[in-house]
Subunit: 267 residues, 2 copies
């Protein structure tokens, strides 16, 4: 068995696949092919990598050291079922799917999960992306670890169960956070105000938790259990029942969290 991974095939051409394939190429790994069910998607990524695009699994090269499966969670099992090569090293990049989904195609299963949010058009410094690794075999884990170390400064061994927990936490800290930004932008737009006004606040809110526990950094009307302000805000959101409901639930959750603090009384 080789001591390092020198070549990969990328299966998938979405946001994660795109950034992963580019990072692999930049770190000197040869990307042999990009596969996607949709040829135009495969072609869009392959042209950035400078490798062939394929949309049929039976065109897969047999000589890759690693096959990276970076498709949506609900498509992984189907792809594995039709994977035509035997006992290759397969790793998926999903936060939620267990490693065992790969067992249908190989005894050399692994996970290579980048804990970051990717958009195709936004460049990401992959060196800052924590990579969560898992492998069925120790020697494969070492191969992934060596590969991950070439891509990123943060590499962690994370079991399938832990990875699922990390992923749920990431949904709160990234996807839900972004949705809060989106609601804020909508509310401002409805009033012909610019989201630019909020940008320093957005940055400071994220910056603060780099060195303060988020629980200690909480501010705002719900933190102070200021019912008057909360009621005013709820009335202002009457025209947006969906946003109103979120405002209400999240405020109650904050009030509940700091109940004991507020009982002591503050100025």
């Amino acid at each position: 068995m080789k001591q390092t991974i020198q070549s990969v095939v990328m299966l998938g051409a979405g946001n994660v696949a795109t950034h992963m394939a580019l990072a692999l190429k930049n770190s000197g790994v040869e990307v042999l092919q990009v596969y996607s069910r949709t040829f135009s998607s495969a072609e869009a990524l392959a042209s950035r990598i400078g490798c062939p695009a394929i949309s049929e699994l039976d065109e897969l090269s047999g000589r890759a050291d690693l096959y990276v499966i970076s498709v949506s969670d609900d498509a992984i099992a189907g792809l594995v079922k039709h994977f035509p090569l035997k006992d290759k090293f397969l790793a998926h990049t999903s936060g939620t799917t267990g490693m065992e989904v790969l067992n249908a195609a190989t005894s050399r299963a692994g996970v290579f999960y980048p804990l970051q949010t990717f958009s195709k058009e936004v460049a990401v410094d992959f060196g800052e992306v924590p990579l969560c690794l898992e492998a069925a075999r120790d020697e494969d884990y070492r191969l992934l670890e060596q590969l991950a170390g070439r891509l990123s400064g943060t590499v962690a061994g994370v079991s399938s169960e832990e990875r699922r927990q990390v992923h749920v936490a990431a949904v709160f800290a990234c996807n839900f956070v972004n949705h809060m930004y989106a609601i804020a932008a909508d509310l401002l737009e409805e009033n012909h105000l610019s989201f630019d006004l909020l940008k320093p606040l957005v940055q400071e809110t994220a910056r603060k938790v780099m060195h303060t526990a988020p629980g200690s950094a909480q501010t705002g009307p719900a933190r102070r259990n200021n019912r008057e302000v909360i009621e005013t805000h709820l009335r202002m959101l009457d025209a947006n029942p969906g946003f109103r409901e979120i405002y209400n639930f999240v405020s109650e959750s904050i009030i509940n969290r700091y109940k004991e603090d507020n009982k002591q009384g503050t100025e």
Copy 2:
């Protein structure tokens, strides 16, 4: 009337009052006194400024160019009611309270609202804090504008109604965002994992919306309407019914927002 504000009295000694008083002092404004109902709070801030602390309104100096009221929203009206000096220039720093609350004490009402999150122990670059201004009289608006320009690079005239809208948006973009971080930190801690793992994701999520509209930056299982992952996450949150409910509501809100996109079908 003076052309610039050279001296202020700070009424309040909380997070906003603290950062505001320090920023005023640093920009060369004389802070004559710090008032708080609680003497020890007034003293804690006054000692950082190097000015007298008072806890009785009848000790207020009559010679300040501006009296900044930076107390909690529900305490403003009471303070104004007992304000002992006539026709002074009063400005509050609240996002939600209308300017008219000051009319009981003066015809020279104003608002000086810093759109930022402040914690007493965390330093803030006030030059980056957008200041939202309002004043009953044009000449007072110009005084506030001149003062604000000494403190910050971003100054905007914002009416009481607009300010309330901005404040609701800020609650989503800051307070609710921070609560999402706190939930993520809790979930990781329950599994003996460190919040450090998520820090690059937190930073990238905020960084992305500096140049991409938040609505376009959305990622994650709800964005893709991936019901299988959402159901898995909800089951994992069974032990935390409060977090489960937020997960459910926010996910439905995201799904709803991108319904049309997902109808088109994506890989």
